[in-house]
């Protein structure tokens, strides 16, 4: 691979990225650089392309224009390279998407054993390590449907961490949770941020964003409208659309 260059430059760079569903423009000229260790929170009204953007980063969606480089690899149709990139990029979904027919432990071991060729014993100790980090090591033998939503989401975070990624993507991780479950999941994410994990997080939890984010990204209609440190973004947003969005989301 000629473009392997993992040590230098940003962990993620998106340049002029565009995507269409038929005539509908889902992403338009998206430019985003994320440095190693940076925590980015993406917000914006629903349908603004936030999810589509982060799903392009591990190629759950294909972009049609521009280039995306992740940890030195340029994303293309090359299957092997995509699998390689996914090793470096963990993802947490709104709906958890745990595998219901496997125990929590098996959920966590699957990726390392299959993609990274780790031995079962090693994968198991890795899994237990990350289950402890998300504070549910005692649930290892259970099946996902036996757990609460908050516990399932923490398992999902641990499953992503087991791949020992360089970049974590969160796609509205607390939107499907009951209110009393949210703080536990956000707590785990904050611990992760403190430990120096690079994160891109789509969320509506603005208090969390204020505490954790190095940078706020505001998107609307498939475009990045504003990119600013949280202090500036929340006190004095530049664009009218961001002002409107913040007034709506912070008023209640």
């Amino acid at each position: 691979m000629s473009d392997d260059n993992e040590t230098q430059g940003p962990i993620l760079s998106m340049e002029g990225v565009g995507k269409w569903y038929g005539n509908f423009c889902a992403l338009h000229d998206v430019n985003l650089m994320v440095e190693l260790g940076e925590k980015v929170v993406v917000c914006g009204p629903s349908g603004s392309g936030k999810s589509t953007m982060i799903r392009c980063i591990n190629r759950l969606e294909e972009h049609q224009a521009g280039t995306i480089r992740v940890a030195g690899h340029t994303l293309s149709a090359n299957t092997k390279r995509i699998e390689r990139v996914r090793r470096d990029v963990g993802m947490v979904f709104q709906q958890f998407n745990l595998f219901p027919h496997m125990t929590v432990l098996q959920n966590l071991m699957l990726g390392p054993v299959r993609n990274r060729g780790v031995s079962r014993a090693e994968a198991k100790s890795l899994a237990m390590h990350y289950l402890e980090r998300v504070h549910i090591a005692d649930q290892a033998a259970k099946y996902p449907p036996q757990l609460s939503g908050g516990q399932q989401q923490r398992v999902a975070i641990a499953r992503a961490l087991c791949m020992q990624p360089k970049l974590m993507l969160f796609d509205e991780p607390t939107s499907a949770l009951d209110p009393e479950m949210i703080s536990g999941v956000l707590g785990v994410m904050e611990e992760l941020a403190l430990a120096g994990m690079t994160m891109i997080c789509v969320t509506h939890e603005m208090a969390f964003a204020r505490r954790v984010a190095d940078r706020m990204i505001f998107m609307d209609r498939g475009e990045i409208i504003e990119s600013a440190p949280p202090a500036k973004f929340f006190s004095a947003p530049e664009s009218e659309r961001a002002q409107l969005f913040l007034s709506q989301i912070l008023s209640h």
Partner: protein
């Protein structure tokens, strides 16, 4: 109330039987037909399975191997049906549509000709090559029947499996597509290959969902196996026909054959019911 209804149904059944007997003026003679189930060798006094029972065994063999083969075909073709690859999708689609839109009997006549005159000579299979020492033992006979009838048995088996495989393909496809999209995405996100996603994540979940319709299809397969009697495969229906023709005891013969089919199919249904509730208990 239940008892009243039950009594009424019973009374109706008895009355019908009486009327039928009255109209038909038919002399029931079960003993002659019973002799075709088991036969007693007069010299040695041993009991032997006669052609009806042999036919039943043949049907069981057809059902067992037909199920195995149809499952393999169905699993592969079903995965093709749900595949993003256009060529694979077209191949499996053509297979399914061809078989679903042609009557079983017609398909089997055409396909039998192909198998017995083209496929078997191509791989050098005929009644002589089959008569080698390793085919002549009890285990082989139990699994595949008498070696002399092997080509006959195999052609019937392949026809049946091809036919039922199409229906299993559709069941498997529905099962695969019933697994939520999020499962694919989560599996892709941890970098699994297409093959691993299918084997580790999708199929295990699909199998649990397709077990009930699959059970129904297996029972259909057993019943459909009577169709291959038309291409002279010596299974239960074929044997029943022989007995009915030679003894002229039409009703007795076909009633016994019917009871035999019922026994196999109902046993299958009960076993599958058990398996299903076991599978449900072991997972939440």
């Amino acid at each position: 109330m239940d008892w009243l209804l039950f009594g009424a149904v019973l009374a109706f059944a008895v009355y019908t039987a009486y009327r039928v007997n009255d109209v038909l003026v038919y002399h029931w003679d079960w003993s002659r037909v019973a002799g075709f189930i088991v036969r007693r060798d007069n010299k040695t006094g041993h009991w032997f399975a006669n052609i009806l029972l042999l036919g039943l065994f043949s049907t069981l063999r057809l059902a067992w191997w037909g199920t195995v083969l149809a499952c393999i075909i169905g699993l592969i073709m079903g995965a093709c049906r749900a595949s993003p690859n256009l060529t694979l999708r077209i191949i499996s689609r053509v297979y399914v549509e061809l078989i679903r839109n042609i009557p079983a009997v017609v398909f089997i006549f055409v396909f039998y000709f192909f198998v017995s005159t083209q496929l078997f000579p191509l791989i050098g299979l005929n009644s002589r090559t089959v008569n080698v020492p390793w085919t002549d033992n009890a285990i082989f006979r139990a699994l595949f029947g008498p070696p002399g009838l092997l080509t006959n048995f195999l052609s019937g088996l392949i026809c049946l499996a091809m036919f039922e495989g199409a229906y299993i393909t559709e069941i498997v496809r529905a099962g695969i597509q019933s697994v939520p999209k999020g499962q694919w995405e989560a599996a892709r996100a941890i970098g699994l290959s297409r093959f691993n996603i299918q084997r580790d994540v999708i199929l295990p979940q699909a199998v649990r969902k397709i077990l009930p319709p699959l059970a129904g299809q297996f029972i259909t397969l057993i019943k459909d196996s009577s169709i291959v009697s038309l291409i002279s495969i010596q299974e239960l229906t074929y044997m029943g026909n022989e007995v009915a023709n030679s003894t002229a005891r039409v009703f007795e013969t076909w009633i016994i054959v019917g009871v035999m089919y019922f026994a196999i199919c109902y046993t299958f249904a009960v076993v599958f019911g058990r398996l299903e509730s076991m599978a449900r208990r072991s997972h939440r």
